[in-house]
């Protein structure tokens, strides 16, 4: 029994190369110098990632689209403030996380509608590392995904953000510490606390999950 396989950023975003962080920093420097083409490239590279992170954090696709636009405007207009020695990916995600937290703070707590596929169509991969999935496996996996989505939506906002940064976005401890502005030790304890909350909610969905998810 070992640790679960964690997808690396390279796996999750094929457009990134091994030197992604450095390349991103160079993009930001070029944007700061007024290179509109660099901004388009950076947008192409990060728009899906930022948009989906926002969606997972606030659970509202249309609002996530609006927020993502605001995030990229900030990235464009604040590129001059980026420290080239810093982590560009963490810098971008910090802007997105702050935008989501601002939005969640201003808005009244939304009663989460657990309509799993309210957003656009999702491309599903009906296969695993061991080959094509059988129909029961596909159903079980889809069921689990629905429950995960519901459980994440029911978590406290801050815990949800921490969990998503680690297990959805795949950030390192150092990057999460930079995004949240805290020490690495604090990050570790917050991650375990968030996972515990997720686990409790997720286990509670085990019985009658289908009914809740279809609600």
């Amino acid at each position: 029994m070992g640790a679960l396989h964690r997808m690396t950023p390279e796996e999750r975003s094929p457009v990134e190369d091994a030197g992604g962080a450095l390349a991103d920093g160079e993009y930001l420097l070029r944007i700061a110098a007024g290179d509109r083409g660099a901004f388009k490239d950076l947008l192409c590279r990060y728009q899906e990632r930022i948009l989906n992170l926002l969606y997972r954090m606030i659970h509202d696709w249309d609002t996530a689209l609006d927020l993502a636009q605001e995030v990229f405007i900030k990235v464009h207009n604040r590129a001059t403030t980026f420290d080239p020695r810093g982590n560009a990916r963490a810098w971008l995600i910090t802007i997105a996380v702050n935008a989501a937290r601002d939005h969640l703070r201003k808005k009244p707590r939304i009663v989460y509608l657990e309509n799993f596929e309210a957003c656009a169509a999702v491309s599903h991969r009906f296969e695993s590392a061991h080959g094509p999935l059988t129909p029961p496996e596909i159903l079980a996996r889809e069921e689990t995904r629905k429950q995960v989505h519901v459980a994440v939506g029911r978590m406290q906002e801050f815990q949800r953000i921490v969990l998503l940064l680690r297990d959805f976005e795949g950030l390192s401890y150092e990057e999460i510490a930079e995004v949240l502005g805290c020490e690495i030790g604090t990050v570790k304890s917050r991650i375990h606390r968030a996972r515990k909350q997720f686990e409790e909610i997720f286990q509670g969905l085990a019985s009658g999950a289908g009914e809740e998810c279809l609600a």
Partner: protein
Amino acid sequence: MKCDQAREWFSHLIEGDLPAAERTQVAEHIDRCPACGERYRRFERGIQSLRELPRHPVPRSFASDLLARPELNDGRQAALARAGDAVLPRPRSWKAVAGSAAALLAVAAGVAVYLEWRVSGVGGQRELLARIEAEHAANVRAVEELRSRHSAEDEDGSAQQERLLAAAAEENGRLARELQAQGEILRNLEAALRAVEAEGRLARNESGGAGGELTALRSELAELASTLRREAGEEAKTQRGNLERLAERVGELAAAGAATPGDARARTALAESGADEEQEPVLLLRENNRPVLRPDWTHSGAAPYLFRLYESRDPEWSPLAFQALDQHFRLRAQGFVAARVQRERKGERQGPIGGILGNRAEPAQAEDEESRLVQYYKEFWVEEQRGVQRASPGPKQAP
């Protein structure tokens, strides 16, 4: 290990950061306890599923909508403007630029004169040295004046101005040191020359007809002295020309604009009094923040300028203009003024004018006296100009 305790470690088990002993304990509990085992496997699937949650595609219009938003450009321009304010120097005024250039050119001209002097002979150089030292002092004053002007007009002057001024001051300092050293050399050479001449006299007196050697020495000495005198005379002539050209050049620089030592307030006063700016001679200087006239103001073209400057009633420059006019015309126009005063006395115009020709009037009458005296000087000058126009040999004296 109890179930609650084991479940506390689930996250660490997934993270893989448990020490070996704890990991073994938790694993054994999960194997023995079906509920905890099922619970852990479900949690593990949940976390794995979270990591594999699909990413929804971005609508095609997302990027185009974003790139069309006006904030994308306005905000960045504002940010750039803020950044620019912080790092870019403010535009320098042309006055400051011209001032720095004038200071450097004046210093350069001084250095050029000095270099020419340095290669010249010994004789007759003392006068030249004094003139160069005076020129150097004028340069120092010009630099100081420019520095004070810059600090007043452009207190946050750019680093480049500071560097220019510092360079000018440093160059002047170097020039001063060089002049001092050359003065010392000159004095040593003169002392050596005197010693050689004394030796020659002594030898002539003591040895009488001591032979051809002494005669040859005397001849050589005479030839040397003659050469030195000739070279010194030619060099002095050359240096005088250089100094005149330098003075002319400084005058041109001064006339080039507000970077010159002219005073803006006096210029304004003159402009308001209708003075012809094209004929305006460069007369105004500030020395230690006090108004002074250039030493070479006493040329014929300066008179109308001084009259207008006096009539401007500027509290600072008008008295100075009066002093200059009085100095310039007092002797030349003495007869003319006396005749005018006498004529007025005959017309029973007794009054403050009585103090003009020597006996000073009361302070309350001084201003009126000055004004009338300047009027007489003006009339004298007009007559003088008419005489010049008629190509008469000299200024025409009033009857």
